[in-house]
Amino acid sequence: MNNYFVKRLLYLIPTLIGASILIFFLYSLIPGNFIDTDPNLTAERKAELYALYGFDQPTITRYFIWLGNLFQGDLGYSLQFQRPVTEVLNDYIWSSFIVAFASLFLTWGIALVIGVISATKQYSFFDSFVTILVFGAMAIPSFFLGLIAIKFFAVDLGWFPAGGMTTSGADYTGWARIKDIAEHMVLPVIVLTMLGIGGLTRYFRTNMLEVVKQDFVRTARAKGLKEKVVIYKHALRNALLPAITLFAFELPALFSGAIITEQIFNWPGIGAIYMQAFSVRDYPLLMGFTMFIAVLTVISNLIADILYGIADPRVRVK
């Protein structure tokens, strides 16, 4: 176990270094920088600021400075917020996480149920219906879905707030505040969920169909077990296992999706400020965010692998 863990951890390093190289040099290829955003500066002032922010150094040097800081957990200093990137991320990341996790939870829950039902009732009306429905969810651009949601559920029906995370000026505390935030979450979570649900449902369905055909399911039936036990205890467990590794890939996708939903719903999350940071070329923040996601992805990958190792006795590491 330890050996395996250490090995996996060591594997992370080249990946992360590769990611850091890619991130840094891709961003450095982008035309424009933070200082140029302010066309109002005189050439002298620009040169002064370049020196002040270290933009006059060669790219390679800057990379190593950045990497060096990275190792110390220092993501740099946001030009636009004039604060350390870690602080800025800390301000915004949690609200992103709340939505991401709520939607992750919903996506998996719904996909699981639908996947199992339509797999056990393959080619039934329900199966076809759900197939169409799921494809439907996959076929609407998320920004558009967001707009429709705002228009109907917020503006016309007034069921949910149109955006943001809290009601400004309402000054809720305690439960009322939690309820307020929950209400604001509903629409973005729905949109984000719709974004991911299609693929996952299809995945569970095919996985389930595969598992149901296997010998041990036949054995379980031959033992006279109830159909529910056969499906949920024997089949589902086996179908779920490979899905654990999917969790890791979901994450970057979720944050990508968050950029859209947070933008549309004014959710005070990291996705929303990413766009803003991009438009002013706040590279430390952009790189910090991207690197953060990369690290998160790699780590969740690792965790998924380890979880898989724990959950599946066949690969269980002793």
């Binding site: 050996n3 250490v6 090995k7 060591l10």
Partner: protein, 329 residues
Amino acid sequence: MTQESLIQVHQLEKKYKTKEKMFSKNNEYIKAVDNVTFHIKEGETFGLVGESGSGKSTIGKSILRLQDISNGEIKYHGKNVFELDKKEMRHLRTKMQFVFQDPFSSLNPRLRIGDALAEPLLDHGLATKKNVKEKVMETMELCGLPTYHINKYPHEFSGGQRQRIGIARAMIMNPEFIVADEPVSALDVSIQAQIINLFQELQEKRNLSYLFISHDLSVVEHLCSRIGVLYLGTMMELASRDQLYENPQHPYTKALLSAVPIPDPTKRRERILLKGDLPNPASPPSGCKFHTRCPFAMDICKNETPVFKEREPGHFVACHLVDQEKANT
């Protein structure tokens, strides 16, 4: 029996790494083949028998250099197969062929059989585009395949026919030697007989040599002239067919033979039942590897590896019991 030996396998050893450990050099190995020596004469059928995991297939594949070996030599006409360069090896491929166990997975599902058969001829320049079809049809007929099947795909054939295709593909370049790895074990009884007969016919017509790998002792008895018995990668007994089936020496061979069910209800007999399962090949028993299951195991068997010795002309056994009996008489 003074034919020249076509294949010589000398002290063959094949190790697989099982677990890679990061910071230690003591990787765990499985010895799939452990110090195996035998030869195959021209025109004969040599049988390899043993249970699953005994290393039969590994030996077969090693002879064709389909995988690397860890130690030892394999010679074809006296030339070490593993020392050939790419070109020589490519040439050798036309001489030595392989017939797979699973006729379905060994055929490319996306290739018509005519194309599959023509391909090696064209690739090796053994036929021109003009005469290739003729040669293909010739081989198909030889292997009992109606030539009107030439444009069909593997999935359109039955299991038996597919195995005929597999044999035809092996035969198309007119090889000297064929390794047949459990070629009939996936087939039904009635089809099995057809294929076994085909092997015999081809040998008669083309003076082929076979290495016939099987777990089915009755099939091996029917086909092979000499037979080696493998247990956990080690050769336990090697003898001619008559010697082996009429006078088996090694307790393992005896047990194997007695375990084969005989299709005659009047002949229900007492068996030598082996205890337990095959040991884990990653940590094989010390001494004689068979001692853990041997009904006649002695103390010496646990500690000393018996020597693979020729007891009678052409009859080799590795067993302490036999040694003792010899000593006693």
